[in-house]
């Protein structure tokens, strides 16, 4: 650091005759390069391990405080971080101070972890969990079809355990409740009549059996029943065992 460096000034002469720029050292192509690489998800590629995760669809349940703006906070997070979201539903819980937000997302595993941790970080969000593939998941569709063939419409509705909500000379409105795939199938079946309008809720879900949907609810339950530990100890185990009961719904 002094003007004595003037003599060194030829080093680093750039292109186009621009002078005295840059620093000394081996050029990029002359340097030793590390051998490894990472995937676009930042995971070190290990020949022994799978490096890329494929997206999968899953439901995440978030218990949130009923603060004003909490929905905007959650949806803002989803849009800002570009999470790939299929649906989002909100509704009350047994506790008047909290609501449940159920998000159905399609992300690779690292993305799912990010959704969970980023949600959990939001101050009004109390507890977040990814529900297992055995979770009970339902959505509802209200479908208004052209009414020219009422018997056929009725037949489809019965096939999908639906109900007719309104029938007139020109339109028939039905509701179907079920998981996402069943609703997709029912809508496909109704297309033959011509669908005028439809409204679909998006998925809402609970963990199966005695398993709790979020940790906070389990803790609250235990507090309320004053030290009863049954939920915590048997939750996950019985959750899988009682599967047959619920599976009959499908």
């Amino acid at each position: 650091m002094s003007s004595d460096h003037a003599e060194d000034s030829d080093a680093g002469t750039g292109a186009n005759g621009r002078h005295e720029q840059g620093l000394d050292g081996p050029r990029p192509e002359d340097r030793e390069r590390p051998q490894g690489r990472r995937s676009s998800q930042g995971i070190r590629i290990d020949p022994q391990a799978e490096a890329e995760h494929a997206p999968r669809r899953t439901a995440i349940s978030a218990l949130v405080a009923n603060d004003p703006g909490v929905l905007a906070t959650v949806t803002g997070l989803v849009s800002r971080r570009q999470f790939n979201i299929e649906s989002l539903t909100v509704g009350p819980t047994t506790n008047p101070e909290t609501s449940r937000i159920t998000l159905v997302i399609e992300e690779p595993d690292p993305g799912i972890r990010q959704v969970e941790t980023q949600l959990e970080k939001l101050v009004p969000v109390i507890s977040v969990r990814e529900l297992g593939s055995d979770a009970i998941q339902r959505e509802l569709v209200i479908c208004k079809v052209h009414g020219e063939e009422p018997e056929k419409v009725q037949a489809i509705t019965e096939m999908y355990d639906g109900r007719t909500l309104d029938a007139g000379p020109r339109t028939i409105t039905v509701e179907i409740v079920g998981d996402e795939g069943k609703i997709d199938d029912a809508i496909d079946a109704y297309r033959q009549f011509g669908i005028r309008e439809l409204a679909r809720t998006g998925g809402t879900a609970l963990a199966r059996g005695e398993e709790w949907t979020t940790d906070a609810e389990e803790e609250r339950y235990e507090r309320l029943v004053n030290g009863t530990r049954t939920g915590a100890e048997t939750g996950t185990k019985t959750g899988t065992r009682t599967r047959t009961n619920g599976a009959a719904d499908d």
Binding site: M1, Q21, D24, S39, V123
Partner: protein, 658 residues
């Protein structure tokens, strides 16, 4: 809402009055300084304000509040003031409750600008122990508070009125959010009954700031507004620090209450992790022990978590080389043999070589920003990554963490230190590999020196100015900067030895950050030297802050590295846009020395190598703000440089290598 419109201070009446009053108050510029000083909210010296407050109110206002005592330390003039412990006058309004909550949280200074909807909150400060620093622009208030928070480690507080006041804070809030700086913003809001009507100076401040705050609040109750402010303060300070905001409708501030704010509490479900999982720590320790080329990456979280001593101890005990991130500058002394300075886009060649070749990276308190990593595919590609962070959401966000250690940086480093002996035994490691790696790092240091030519036939080199200033200044000098080439030169060529000495806008990259942050830093640390390196473009954005520095007689030095361009843009245009210098050259700039003099500051101009030492010395010795307009070589660019998304190991040393 407890308040009806027709109480003593009619909210409806206020709203009608506002349009008339606000053009002056809302857009208050420095000419209003006198008015606010009369109002006693502290535009002049603290002593004067105190005296006025005393005269206005026979009851001594300073009391047993913790805030009162530290404030006397910051200003010897106040020692004469009586500070009898005793009864505080009872709270009568929401705004007094806000002031009391701030005092209770230990706040001493507030940075802000007056305006219509925030007036009642200011009125609440009148009798408080708080010192208000009137800024010339709300953006400056946010940056000053942000820097204040970085120097002190506790949230800086800024306030502004509704609408434009609040939106002017937004840049500063976003800046604090990106850099995890503790900041509490208080904004005025139109009376509750006008909210949603597009009332005069109404902006949905809570909506606007939602994505850039840890959390924000719309206060709706005079009884609890003090608690809300206390919670917001506590939240800004705890866990991963960051900005919080409380929007304060006018009726809530003027509303009657006699409730003292409660002790600040964190939200019920807010958890701050302390120690990391022991098994994970042991696994991480074994990874380090097995490694042959271990490297520590020390980030801004080490500063925020006060973990610099633990980091120093760990690195020196294990003899592992350290690179820092830019916000992590100062967490490890840059003149230490193990320190390779900072890595990333304009980091040193040796830091980038080390981070590219390490086989085990202990990353502490960093979010793996793209300016650090370059292309993710080539970032530390051989490294097993141990990631220590207090925020679980940072784990594997950008770079996969093989060993996530969620917890407080200092606590986890202590845990790791405790696990290393057993890990070395278990892995049967020998120290030779570590030694060879350290030698390799030293070799790189020799191969890629940060030496720049200083030919006599070209104008002054900016690096030379930075190094000259660094040599002249004491070790604990606080350096702030704007954003651009000057920021890179300052961080490359200043030798930082302590945390909280490098205050800059890293994540958001806010041009104009330099002067307001220097003001905040000087208010926070009046006994330390404060130097702001600024660029001509950056300085032009917030130079109105000079009026504040002059009024408050802040002894700080601004060195404008003036290359008559927003040089970083020009550098990129030259490299990537075929030298098409669209809108980047500023040959129309004012004479910054004269500008400084116009504000009442000292203005100096520097052009020659021979004058560097003397001019900088004169600026430093001037008792008050001084501006050195250093005309530097406009052809000088910042190197090393990793192209955006590029490979850190292929940093360019000159333009032809890009």
């Amino acid at each position: 809402m407890s308040e009806r419109p027709n109480t003593t201070t009619s909210t409806a009446g206020d709203a009608e009055d506002d349009p008339a009053a606000d053009p002056e108050a809302g857009t208050a510029t420095e000419t209003d300084g006198g008015t606010t000083a009369e109002a006693g909210t502290g535009t002049t010296t603290e002593a004067e304000v105190e005296a006025e407050a005393e005269a206005a109110d026979a009851t001594p206002t300073t009391g047993a509040e913790p805030a009162a005592d530290p404030s006397t330390e910051t200003d010897p003039n106040e020692e004469a003031e009586p500070s009898e412990p005793g009864e505080r006058p009872p709270i009568e309004t929401g705004s007094e409750s806000i002031a009391r909550a701030l005092e209770g949280a230990g706040v001493e200074h507030v940075f802000g600008v007056q305006g219509g909807a925030i007036m009642p909150v200011y009125d609440g400060l009148y009798d408080s122990a708080l010192t208000h620093v009137t800024m010339a622009h709300e953006q400056g208030a946010a940056h000053a508070a942000d820097a204040y928070g970085q120097v002190t480690g506790t949230p800086g507080v800024c306030m502004a009125t509704s609408g434009p006041g609040a939106t002017n804070l937004v840049t500063g809030i976003a800046d604090a959010d990106m850099d995890s700086d503790p900041l509490l913003a208080l904004t005025g809001q139109v009376p509750t009954e006008f909210v949603g009507n597009d009332a005069f100076q109404e902006t949905d401040t809570v909506g606007v700031t939602r994505p850039i705050t840890k959390t924000n609040y719309f206060a709706n109750d005079s009884d609890t507004v003090g608690d809300t402010v206390g919670e917001a303060f506590a939240l800004a300070e705890s866990g991963r620090q960051g900005p919080t905001l409380v929007d304060l409708p006018k009726d809530v501030s003027v509303g009657e209450t006699d409730r003292e704010p409660a002790e600040p509490e964190l939200p019920q479900y807010y958890e701050v992790p302390e120690e990391a999982d022991t098994t994970a720590v042991e696994a991480a320790a074994r990874a380090l022990a097995r490694a042959e080329r271990p490297l520590i990456l020390s980030g801004g979280g080490v500063t925020k978590g006060e973990a610099s001593p633990e980091l120093r101890a760990f690195a020196t005990e294990q003899e592992i080389p350290v690179v820092t991130t830019m916000p992590g500058i100062g967490t490890f002394p840059e003149d230490h043999d193990l320190c390779l300075s900072w890595a990333g886009m304009h980091g040193t060649g040796y830091a980038n070589m080390a981070i590219s070749h390490t086989d085990c990276l202990l990353a502490v308190g960093t979010r793996f920003d793209d300016r650090l990593t370059g292309g993710i595919e080539t970032f530390a590609p051989d490294a097993e990554v141990i990631h220590v962070d207090v925020d679980p959401a940072e784990i594997s966000k950008n770079v996969h963490a093989d060993h996530p250690l969620v917890g407080d940086a200092g606590a986890v480093l202590d845990q790791l230190a405790g696990a290393m002996d057993a890990a070395f035994d278990a892995e049967g490691s020998s120290p030779e590999a570590y030694t060879a790696w350290r030698e390799q790092c030293q070799e790189w240091r020799g191969e890629y020196p940060m030496d720049y030519p200083t030919p006599d036939d070209t104008p002054l080199k900016p690096q030379f100015v930075v190094e000259a200033m660094c040599e002249a200044c004491p070790e604990d000098t606080i350096v702030t900067s704007g954003v651009g080439q000057h920021q890179m030169w300052a961080s490359q060529y200043w030798t930082f030895r302590h945390p909280r000495t490098w205050i800059s806008s890293h994540g958001l990259g806010t041009m104009g950050y330099g002067l307001p942050s220097a003001i905040g830093a000087k208010v926070a640390a009046p006994d330390r030297e404060v130097v702001c390196f600024d660029g001509d473009g950056s300085f032009l954005m917030t130079s109105q802050g000079l009026s504040v520095a002059v009024r408050e007689n802040l002894d700080l030095t601004v060195v404008v590295l003036n290359n008559e361009a927003i040089g970083m843009v020009r550098q990129w245009q030259d490299a990537f846009f075929e030298r098409r210098r669209m809108a980047s050259e500023y040959p129309w700039l004012p004479d910054f020395a004269k500008l400084a003099e116009a504000f009442g500051a000292k203005g100096l101009t520097l052009r020659e190598y021979d004058d560097v030492a003397d001019t900088l010395q004169e600026a430093r010795e001037y008792d008050g703000p001084a501006v050195v307009d250093a005309h530097i070589d406009p052809a000088e660019n910042v190197y090393p440089m990793v192209a955006s998304g590029g490979d850190n190991a292929r940093f360019a040393l000159s333009e032809d290598q890009l």
